[in-house]
Amino acid sequence: MKKLMLVGVVLLVAALVSTPAVVMAADAEAAVSSANTFNRLLQKPAEKNLPPAEDGIHDAENDNTYVLQPPKIAFDSLVRSDFGNYVDWIKSLREQKISPRTERMGGGEEAMIMDLDIIREVRGSMPNVVFPHKGHTEWLQCSNCHPDIFIPQQGANRMNMAGILLGQKCGVCHGKVSFPIVTTTCRLCHSQAKPEGWAPGKSAASVDNPWQ
């Protein structure tokens, strides 16, 4: 009985505290047409690393969904980041927080790691792209990329950002399983500063402009 009363009091206080704010917010929103909501398109991720039953893809009606591991529990001991799974997979591997098998049965040979950086000059103001073979061969095998995605010869492959965002070249993996392509990750690929004194080229339409 005492417990029930306590709960009642707590609820009452909570209601009193929250009502004015709720009413004010409702008033302000009622005046603005729904066509002019502040964020028309932005969708912020709700919570990070939700458990399967709440993630909107797994069926909460399926008993087995509750046997699946909630990602937060697994990620607790890994190095975290601000995007994708919110895990820095490269660091987690290098610091041996995880030790993924190289062969299905385990054991076998160590991954064949190749330390070769490929620099790609980038049109416009963005820093040049450095492709590190090292971080990639820690996870992948040469045949995952060569020759289907990239001809193994520097400069032999044409790429541009629009195509990458559509899932070509680097976009076969990045933006899907490897780190996503968002503002906070641009500089992971675009990591080499342009040479000193570099300035972006002018568009012909701007050079020939008689009004300037």
Binding site: L41, L42, Q43, P45, A46, E47, N49, L50, P52, E54, D55, G56, I57, H58, D59, N62, D63, N64, T65, V67, L68, Q69, P71, A74, F75, G84, N85, V87, W89, I98, P100, R101, T102, E103, R104, M105, A111, E138, W139, L140, Q141, S143, N144, N160, M161, A162, G163, L165, L166, G167, G171, V172, C173, H174, G175, K176, V177, P180, I181, V182
Partner: protein, 139 residues
Amino acid sequence: MKIKGLVKSMRYALIGGVLALLLPFSASHAEYGDVVINNYADAAGMRPVVFPHWYHRIRFRCKVCHADLGFAFKAGGNDITMEKIIDGQFCGACHNGEIAWSIENCGMCHSGIPNTPTQIHGSTVQRLVAPSYKSMNAK
């Protein structure tokens, strides 16, 4: 004229319907890289399959599945079926009671919300607020 109008409004209704169908998916917050595979599952009365990349990459390098086991880099692009799985292909290369729990645990894989289309969840293309930009000199 009237028929044209009817066709037009039906078209809008259809678009509306499709958008309404898409809405729940854009509102989902599953783990980045989760793959939903639903070429056949729904049609056969099974929930769609959800494959968690994060869980598997803690245990295996990409090359184990994408080079050694021959999974192509394409959600829904491997034409996986139960017959191939019990013959030791695809998921069946590991979910055999030796490397991982065996195939009779149907609901562990078939755990998706019914009618969810094949997709790689959280992909850049899925997250764009507008259709992908095509470069000026793209053909």
